[in-house]
Symmetry: C2
Subunit: 472 residues, 2 copies
């Protein structure tokens, strides 16, 4: 065991060397921040607006990764200022900065709009917020961020900041970092609090191996709102809030399994994404071995929508398509999405390309008024569609109608045409989409092929296991 | 409404004329009873056994139907006599009666064995029981019967006995009479208590139209055992017992619907079973219209088993076959049985003749010890059967294997070969059974064809509705 722990620490040290930004990198980020905050301060002072500029996020906290060049710049306004003014001023500031730097501003939406711009290789977000007192009620969702930044800066040691970086890299390599995608993983702030709680990454790993949900870290249990999350970590800045609220059971379980695998066979390999190199032939062969059908819905022209917002909408659309298809008698067993370069694809894996013949239609209960039951019976009895019944199942009428047997492609097209239940902002894109049974028609890049192969095999954890145990 | 009630009463009167036995019929039954009770009394007195003979059942109560020639003859022993002696003596008496009448005794089993014999056109059951005091705990299940007989004899008026006959005929014509078959319908004693409660058949019908489960008739609510039956009728002879315990929600609901149909369009037609006359061609056409497949499991040689016991076993076997087939990926939507002339058939209606390709296999939870999870992973990863995973669904491992695609006939054969979960006494018969996809191969009589047509159309209530409304 002791030997094992030392190996774990050794791996950890090597990873720190890779993911800790160099002094030069940090100096450069700092210079860019100073340049931009200077522009902002001058602009606001020219306007006579009272506000302060603050660097927040992982760069401010010192928990950023060497390959993560993001600046989160907050403009903090007095709480008395109307929200409309703040939104407007925030966007004006963003445009002024972009114009002075000679780059294009991109308007993005979280709870309220903010500006994103790319300056050289650095992504800069310029976000307006309220300068609230710590511990008081926040006004907008981002008002907590400055307090989180302050809390982490003062609470984590330099070593713990490095260990946070290691944790983030571990999660990132295993698709568990971030909460805004299909994973429902771990946010950066959650990583910082977990390292603060367990002290080091190796200690977190050896505890997480035995995690049984719910895992609860609270200091004021009576103040947190009840929840059924697998992980509950009370926010030191706002005791009502569970920092891990967005972490799904799936992501939690993945982390526990990965902690076990990593603890058993510590290796730097756990910090590198699993590389798969799918060929069209492999994808074809695996589908044929499974005997399933893969339907792809290709959205060629996505509306201008932030990735954080795109994923939930794709996911929602995929869930809706699956639900409707299952209702229509298609045995869909899995859905997954891919997005990139302004395109997106929803994939649906089905056990059959055609529907089952019978559709069960629920009618009234026998406790409904007889007049209604009689009307139902009269209608159904004279309907040519009914192939069996109406009959009673327990205390409820049911009839069977024969489905027009349709191919799943046609089934998907019909659902898309109606468009209800699909992600609102991409409904239009879905309507003009292509639906195909040939996965290779959709797979226009190796990246798409890799996604398909990984999802139809569902073998991300298996791959980690193989790598760890040197088998396969 | 008044007009309607009068029509209802008129129908009721006409039915009474048909179902009330003639004086000659009753005289004949009485003579046969006297003959048999004489034989029994003499036999027991020769043996020096203290016991009395009693006529029980519907003939004794005066609620029997003209076409129902059954005598239930009870031999009542003192409560001190050991059960083994009673069982032995009961069978000896049965044999003696059969021998003196020159007929063949049939040994049958309820909770304990009794003798059935056919004398001319009368079915005679000779049943040993304990002569318990009314209101005291019974020893065997049949000990209540004499008390039920006494209760009904003294409580029902002659008119109410006739109305009980009408109710029984109504239920019988609609497959709701009796509790020992697939219907889970209304027992004779329940019919008598319902008529006692509502006074007349028309009054029962007009109340039953608005029945909302649970319908509760109790006089000592604290004494009855809690149950979730749709109908609760406390036994006047044993307050712990719900006389309607065996009545299913399905049978209850059928009765409510039929009460509405009959009330609305009173007609003698409701007292005649729906006649269907199925041809092989009709059965073929309906199946082809539905697009479903009908598998028949034909049991050519049934063991000597009473019909009351055969039905539950057939039903159990059908349920088991369905469950197993669904597990194996066959979309079975309906099962039904037929039995007659020493043969029985289990029918399975399926949406497809072949399985779906993927089987989902559940593995351990992530809270299981890592050693067990690792062993599971190691085994699954090296297995050639796995086509996807293992992966996590929530906090549980799942893997996908490809099913060998098989035809439903082969699927049924494999389940029958194993034989677990099938009705114990017919397991042997099932093993030597034929399994066929051709419904006409099994349909060796018009009666079987009628059963098939009625079940694949599931239209018994629809037919009643059509007849009542003169449509179709």
């Amino acid at each position: 065991m002791g030997d094992n722990t030392r190996r774990l620490e050794a791996v950890c040290e090597k990873v720190v060397e890779k993911v800790r930004p160099t002094a030069d990198q940090d100096k450069r980020l700092r210079e860019i921040y100073n340049l931009i905050s200077g522009i902002i301060t001058k602009f606001l002072s020219d306007l006579g607006v009272e506000a302060s500029v603050m660097l927040t996020g992982s760069v401010a906290k010192g928990t950023h990764l060497s390959h993560d060049q993001d600046l989160d710049i907050f403009i903090l306004f007095p709480v008395e200022k109307p929200l409309e003014d703040i939104k407007r001023l925030g966007l004006e500031v963003g445009e002024r900065v972009a114009s002075e730097l000679g780059v294009k501003p991109e308007r993005r939406y979280a709870q309220h709009p903010y500006t994103r711009l790319q300056f050289r290789d650095v992504r800069v977000d310029i976000v307006p917020a309220y300068n609230t007192e710590k511990g008081t009620r926040i006004i907008t969702a981002v008002d907590r961020t400055p307090h989180h930044t302050e809390y982490v800066k003062k609470s984590l040691s330099e070593e713990q900041k490095d260990h946070t970086r290691v944790l983030k890299e571990f999660l990132r390599a295993n698709n568990l970092y971030g909460t805004e995608n299909m994973v429902g993983g771990f946010s950066g702030y959650l990583c910082e609090l977990l390292i603060h709680h367990y002290g080091t990454f190796p200690n977190l790993v050896s505890h997480a191996r035995r995690w049984t949900p719910p895992v609860v870290h609270v200091y004021a249990p009576d103040q947190i709102e009840p929840c059924d999350s697998p992980l509950v970590v009370q926010d030191p800045v706002d005791p009502r809030r569970n920092v891990a609220a967005a972490t799904t059971t799936k992501a939690f379980s993945h982390f526990v399994v990965l902690a076990n695998m990593f603890y058993e066979q510590p290796s730097e390999k756990f910090f590198t994404p699993i590389r798969i190199d799918a060929s069209a032939e492999t994808v074809k062969r695996v589908l044929s071995e499974k005997g399933t059908t893969l339907v792809s819905v290709v959205l060629e022209r996505l509306p201008p929508i932030a990735e954080d917002n795109l994923w939930p909408q794709l996911e929602k659309s995929a869930r809706y398509l699956r639900k409707k298809l299952v209702e229509q008698g298609f045995p869909v067993i899995h859905t997954f999405c891919w997005a990139g370069q302004g395109r997106a694809i929803i994939f649906l894996e089905s056990q059959s390309v055609s529907t089952h013949p019978i559709r069960f239609n629920l009618g009234p209960h026998i406790t409904t008024s007889w007049e209604k039951q009689r009307a139902y019976l009269g209608k159904r009895v004279s309907s040519g569609d009914v192939v069996a019944g109406p009959y009673l199942v327990g205390d409820r009428w049911v009839s069977e109608t024969r489905r027009e047997e349709i191919n799943i492609v046609e089934g998907v097209r019909r659902i898309l045409e109606k468009g209800h239940g699909l992600g609102r902002q991409i409904r239009k894109a879905l309507r003009g989409s292509r639906v195909s049974l040939d996965p290779l028609e959709a797979a226009t890049s190796g990246e798409v092929l890799n996604t398909i192969l990984s999802e139809i095999r569902r073998d991300q954890l298996v791959q980690r296991f193989r790598v760890a145990h040197g088998c396969g």
